[in-house]
């Protein structure tokens, strides 16, 4: 009996966690008139995608999605590359002073973006990178690589020594060892790092809000956040915007779960 009480209280918790998503989806499918008569909790009587379509056109949502994909995808690829290079030197090359270099990257990961934002804004204006996606890509490459360096260095410190030795005896130089041995063997971890970097960059708000101001460069969260701040939308349009913001996150969530499991099991088999 007691364990059923535990089960039911956890189900109630799960429903409470999901309720906001359900309410948003319900109202995104209503007409404004229906919302006005039934309020936010009534079920939609006839489902319409008009609110979503209107919002999509109004903010050019396809463009925002593309921007977010370009930025997050580039950052994820570059952050993995930079992390691999760093971790190869620190974990396998064991360069001198590696502990301090690692601490420098960790501190970089901990610093609040508020303490860099104005100089970055200023420098971006001086170099002509203000309001370009390149500026955001460069910044988040190192922000995510700081975490990736930390994660990968501990993985590479335990890299099977025999594999490296065998390749060296075959006459491979450092670059060849990295590309032919280290990267393929650590692919599962690199996959996890890629996914994390992608999602974290997708969700970033503060620096993209400051650096990206025009319609052609803004990401999904920035565009939605700015629009929300202007308080110009009616209730159904707000829920349509929230739903459009939620959907990519849920899609990534499903992909992310699989990758993570793959990463963990691959690590266990080793």
């Amino acid at each position: 009996m007691k364990r059923h009480a535990v089960l039911w209280s956890l189900i109630v918790l799960a429903v409470a966690m999901l309720a906001p998503f359900v309410i948003v989806a319900l109202n995104a499918l209503k007409t404004p008139a229906q919302y006005a008569s039934g309020g936010p909790l009534a079920l939609p009587t006839d489902i319409t995608f008009q609110g979503i379509a209107d919002f999509w056109d109004r903010v050019d949502f396809g463009r925002k999605l593309l921007n977010s994909f370009i930025i997050s995808g580039s950052v994820a690829v570059l952050a993995v590359v930079v992390s691999v290079l760093n971790a190869y030197a620190l974990g396998i090359g064991r360069v001198r002073g590696r502990l301090w270099i690692l601490i420098a990257f960790l501190v970089a990961n901990t610093l609040p973006q508020e303490a860099m934002v104005y100089p970055l804004y200023f420098l971006a204006k001086v170099t002509g990178l203000y309001d370009t996606q390149l500026s955001v890509i460069v910044i988040f490459t190192i922000v995510q690589a700081a975490f990736g360096t930390y994660l990968l260095t501990s993985t590479y410190a335990g890299f099977p020594h025999e594999l490296l030795e065998a390749a060296r005896i075959d006459g491979a130089n450092k670059w060849q060892v990295l590309v032919r041995i280290v990267v393929p063997v650590s692919r599962p971890t690199l996959g996890v790092l890629f996914v994390f970097s992608f999602i974290w960059t997708w969700n970033e708000f503060f620096l993209p809000l400051v650096l990206l101001i025009s319609n052609d460069t803004q990401t999904v969260p920035v565009a939605l956040g700015v629009l929300q701040g202007q308080r110009l939308m009616d209730a159904t349009m707000t829920s349509a915007s929230a739903l459009l913001g939620v959907i990519p996150a849920i899609v990534f969530f499903l992909i992310f779960q699989r990758t993570l499991t793959r990463g963990i099991t691959a690590g266990a088999v080793k």
């Binding site: 948003v24 508020e114 190192i142």
Partner: protein, 298 residues
């Protein structure tokens, strides 16, 4: 031989060049510039005027600054302390009761439900909630239907309640993170200790407190540290939910510095706020790591 290893190691330094250059250009130089700016009066255009410690003395007499830190403490409770405490109970219940009696599939589905808010962009989570918490929003409507209409509030517009509402939203966002980390930790923990305690007749609560929690202490430390840092940096939810209002009732250092940088163009003052926030975060990180180190050695 020795010279060879030195040269061997030396050439690995080449691999650090891209990361090091980016670190210097994007993190280190801007950070040092920010500290420099904090000693000046500057509107963002023209030449900054050196004013020494003026910004800092002004800061310590500024009640907005102090109240923003008080609000930050409340957010630490909402984002670090409560999620850790609740996360321990939920993770243990999912692992011990649901996973063992109802199957791992049920446990992972429930875990996924609790974790879902974590993958949302915080700005989007803010939009979802600002709409639910609006005066005519879903929460007040729900209270009315449940016969609790007298509880209806202007959740984000009332200065006495807004901070509590923000705390609730952050708890909703944050809870999934400790649950997932703790469940992974419990899988690593040794089940025989747990079974021994059960045979000795220890209650569920006794086993939870004396066996489960000590075994995942490293995870608890990591979660407390990362969540506390995240709470000190909170910006997106405040920007979307309340803009620091009403009347500064939910202002936090991060948003306060943003206001000074970009709305009031008091760049030097904003830089001073950001610098204080940074020092606080670094000190806190160092203390946490030190305590954790001592705990591991003991």
């Amino acid at each position: 031989m020795i010279t060879r290893t030195v040269r061997e190691r030396g050439s690995y330094l080449l691999f650090l060049i891209p990361g090091a250059l980016l670190l210097i250009a994007v993190i280190l130089v801007p950070f040092v510039m920010n500290v420099g700016i904090s000693f000046t009066r500057w509107q963002g255009v023209g030449d900054p005027q050196w004013t020494g410690l003026d910004n800092y003395t002004r800061l310590f007499g500024d009640s907005t600054f102090w109240s923003s830190f008080q609000h930050n403490l409340a957010l630490v409770v909402a984002m670090a302390i409560l999620p850790t405490a609740a996360g321990l109970v939920v993770a243990a219940a999912l692992f011990d009761v649901i996973g063992k009696r109802f199957g791992p599939r049920a446990a992972s589905v429930l875990r996924a439900c609790v974790y879902l808010p974590q993958v949302l962009p915080v700005a989007v989570a803010g939009i979802v909630w600002s709409w639910i918490l609006a005066p005519q929003g879903a929460l007040n409507e729900f209270l009315g239907l449940a016969g609790l209409g007298f509880l209806a509030q202007n959740w984000l517009g009332d200065p006495d309640i807004a901070l509590w509402s923000v705390m609730g939203v952050l708890l909703w966002i944050q809870l999934g993170y400790p649950v997932v980390i703790f469940m992974a930790g419990l899988q690593r923990a040794d089940p025989s200790l747990h079974e021994a305690a059960e045979l000795d007749g220890a209650s569920w609560w006794g086993r939870f407190w004396h066996v489960t929690v000590p075994q995942i202490r490293p995870e608890v430390f990591v979660v407390l540290l990362t969540c506390t840092i995240a709470a000190l940096k909170v910006f997106g939810p405040i920007y979307v939910l309340t803009r620091g209002g009403p009347g500064g009732a939910t202002n936090v250092p991060s948003y306060f510095s943003f206001q000074n940088f970009f709305e009031k163009t008091q760049v030097g003052y904003g830089a001073a706020i950001a610098t204080v926030l940074t020092v606080l975060i670094l000190v806190l990180t160092a203390v946490f790591l030190k305590v954790q180190n001592r705990g591991e050695r003991a």
